[in-house]
């Protein structure tokens, strides 16, 4: 829609162009008027808060741990309070094996089952089949 000075615009094109410009000016004035009202009436405070949050977030994200680590932060950030989920101790000073060692009595067959294998046991016990889509291990 550039008004080139090389070729004179036909009256029709000129009319179309001025029509477009008028519409554009109108739209810009609409937005300006709305923004002015929102700002004067104090409706835009949440936008400031959001920007501040975003700044804080960006600063923390850049300075803090890398967010590509599956499962959360590395051990460095947690300091002495507790290591990562695998290795170190938890907030109570305990450690846990990879597969829960707690023994549970199956309410279906009555046999004692290791907690970490309870779900697969129950499946076979009660005849279920799993077809997960978003598996949570």
């Amino acid at each position: 829609m550039s008004s080139s000075n090389d070729a004179p615009l036909s009256p029709r094109s000129q009319l179309a162009l001025s029509c477009f410009e008028e519409l554009l000016d109108c739209a810009v004035a609409d937005v300006a008027s709305e923004c002015h009202r929102i700002a004067r009436l104090g409706l835009d405070r949440s936008v400031d808060a959001e920007e501040e949050e975003l700044r804080v977030w960006a600063a923390r994200a850049a300075a803090g741990g890398d967010h590509h680590h599956p499962g959360g932060s590395g051990a460095a950030e947690e300091g002495g309070a507790g290591g990562g989920s695998k290795g170190g101790v938890d907030v109570f000073g305990q450690t846990h094996p990879a597969i829960a060692a707690d023994v549970i009595e199956c309410m279906n067959c009555g046999r004692p089952v290791v907690a970490g294998r309870f779900a697969p046991h129950l499946e076979k016990c009660m005849g279920k089949v799993v077809t997960g889509i978003a598996f949570g291990l």
Partner: protein, 557 residues
């Protein structure tokens, strides 16, 4: 907060108010076009023009004002001269003929008057036919008897008693009450993550710890002596009882991880078990709690009534959906209950310019974050997208009663009533039935710890749809502002990391103003930035009034 307040008037506006009739009388000069756009009434063939401009050049100005005193029309460049050159006093205030906004020619700025806005509001209300609202179920604002809030503070004796008994202030309690790991029973982290969030949802926690559902007294579980072989059939599963058992275990003070075997056995009967998706699981749990513990009086089984069961009392809110005909402005409104809000995580969509109905985002400050903005999605932007007016496809033409034919329409969602606990589900898993392919969206989401939902309420959305006019108190419409606050505090975040088929769910809990990571049996304390940079999948916010700030003091001990 988010209600428009009239700024102090400029001296010219103040003088005008004293000397002339109230601006409310301008109502008869107003006309409202479709979609609620007010303007100054004029004959169909009349074209307002600025007289000084017309003499000089024929090109029209985009903005024209009409003087309130003499009705002369002029453009912004000739406004000041009209104000100073006019015969009598009081020609400073004019009105924008196309937008019905007041303008002070002497100050050269747009000004605001509650009386005038009242006139515009009345014109808009009368021009719109009463919109049909088919409600399912009807959420007409019933006057609920409420107890007035009375502040309470403990006296010294009570304070001493509380300090001695409160595990969070005693020196040995390095961790808050209710914090306990959950053993993974074999691919059950999706269940554990949801349980951890439910365990620390204040209203739900209070319900179960307050013995409102006692598993030993539950009528569904009254033990009937059968032989062992029939025991399974006789023992009816009550998920609420299982939940009660888990609350007791978590808050017992015992810190070794707990194995929720009973819960798993009953929960695995649910259809959602197949998916192993935390959100699906969460929804089906709430459904089953609803099935299990409806009100004894059988008041109302209809969902959304809010009083039927604890799950609805805590999580159920009401969404309002408005479909507006773009040709005549007729709006059809429906209400539907919702237990959570699912939000699209749109990677590429960070348009600073929205449709006119939404809050414009054009700010100079955002320039500096331009690079960041294109990569980061924020919860608030997702909510803005959710409540944005969307043009429906040409195929989905809506039948307009007023026009009596199918027309193109705009659809806009807003929140009619907020729940006590707001759960936001970020749609990270895309399932394409056509391609038979599922994929996960890894994009990071920024979310605030304190969230004000006011801009997304129906009252705010409606107000901004009609130009953010200052409503006088007595003219507020039937959509009364909710008596509950709109401020929320986050307390739990469920994250999903890894790939679609081999991922892992973890819950971050905010207790005593510290963050704890609950990774199945492993509970560790983490820093804020770990939570901020995690991949949020479900976010849990509770009404600020229910979020115990006293916890913060305990942290200082």
């Amino acid at each position: 907060m988010s209600t428009p307040s009239a700024p102090p008037p400029c001296p010219h506006l103040a003088a005008h108010r004293l000397s002339s009739r109230p601006l409310r009388f301008l109502r008869r000069c107003l006309r409202v076009r479709p979609l609620g756009r007010p303007e100054i009434r004029r004959d169909p063939r009349e074209l307002p023009r600025c007289s000084p401009c017309a003499a000089a050049s024929p090109s029209p100005s985009p903005r024209l004002y009409a003087c309130l005193s003499c009705a002369a029309v002029f453009c912004p460049s000739h406004a000041a001269s009209h104000a100073s050159a006019s015969a009598g006093p009081g020609h400073q205030i004019a009105v924008d003929v196309d937008r019905a906004e007041l303008f002070c020619a002497a100050c050269g700025d747009q000004v605001y008057d509650p009386d005038f806005d009242h006139a515009v509001f009345l014109a808009q209300s009368s021009s719109l036919l009463p919109s049909t609202s088919s409600t399912s179920p009807s959420p007409a604002p019933r006057k609920r008897r409420r107890v007035d809030y009375r502040a309470w503070a403990p006296d010294p004796a009570e304070f001493a008693l509380m300090s001695s008994a409160d595990p969070t202030t005693s020196a040995s309690a390095a961790a808050p009450a209710g914090l306990r790991g959950l053993n993974n029973l074999g691919n059950t982290c999706f269940m554990n993550s949801v349980l951890q969030a439910l365990l620390h949802a204040p209203p739900l926690r209070n319900y179960f710890l307050g013995d409102r559902h006692n598993r030993f007294l539950c009528p569904r579980r009254t033990p009937v002596r059968h032989r062992a072989a029939e025991a399974e059939a006789a023992k009816v599963a009550c998920l609420a009882c299982d939940l009660d058992e888990i609350y007791s275990a978590a808050f017992s003070g015992e810190r070794m991880p707990y194995s929720p075997a009973n819960w798993w056995q009953h929960a695995s009967n649910l259809a959602s078990y197949e998916q192993q998706d935390a959100h699906e699981f969460f929804i089906s749990i709430l459904d089953h709690i609803h099935e299990n513990i409806k009100d004894d009086q059988h008041k109302s089984h209809a969902q959304g009534h809010g009083d039927c069961c604890i799950a609805h009392r805590v999580f159920s809110g009401i969404l309002r959906s408005d479909v507006t005909c773009t040709s005549c402005g007729f709006t059809s409104t429906t209400f539907e209950p919702c237990m959570d809000i699912s939000l699209d995580l749109d990677v590429g969509d960070n348009t600073p310019f929205g449709v006119a109905n939404t809050k414009p985002h054009v700010r100079n400050g955002e320039r500096g974050l331009a690079g960041m903005n294109s990569k980061v999605s924020t919860l608030m932007r997702c909510l803005e997208r959710f409540t944005r007016a969307e043009r429906l496809d040409a195929e989905q033409k809506f039948f307009c009663e007023r026009c009596d034919e199918r027309q193109e329409s705009l659809k806009q969602m807003s929140i009619r009533r907020l729940p006590l606990v707001s759960c936001f589900h970020i749609k990270r898993f895309e399932h394409s039935a056509v391609k038979k392919v599922s994929r996960k969206v890894d994009h990071c989401l920024q979310f605030p710890f304190s969230l004000d939902m006011a801009p997304y309420l129906s009252s705010s959305i409606l107000r901004s749809r009609y130009g953010n006019r200052i409503f006088p108190a007595e003219a507020s419409d039937a959509d009364a502002v909710s008596e509950l606050s709109s401020e929320f505090e986050i307390f739990a975040v469920i994250t999903h990391s890894g790939k679609l088929e081999a991922g892992h769910y973890v819950t971050y809990l905010r207790l005593n103003n510290h963050w704890y990571k609950c990774d199945d049996a492993w509970v560790t304390r983490v820093e804020e930035h770990t939570v901020r940079t995690s991949q949020a999948y479900m976010l849990f916010y509770v009404q600020k009034t229910l979020y115990y700030k006293a916890c913060e003091r305990a942290a200082a001990v």
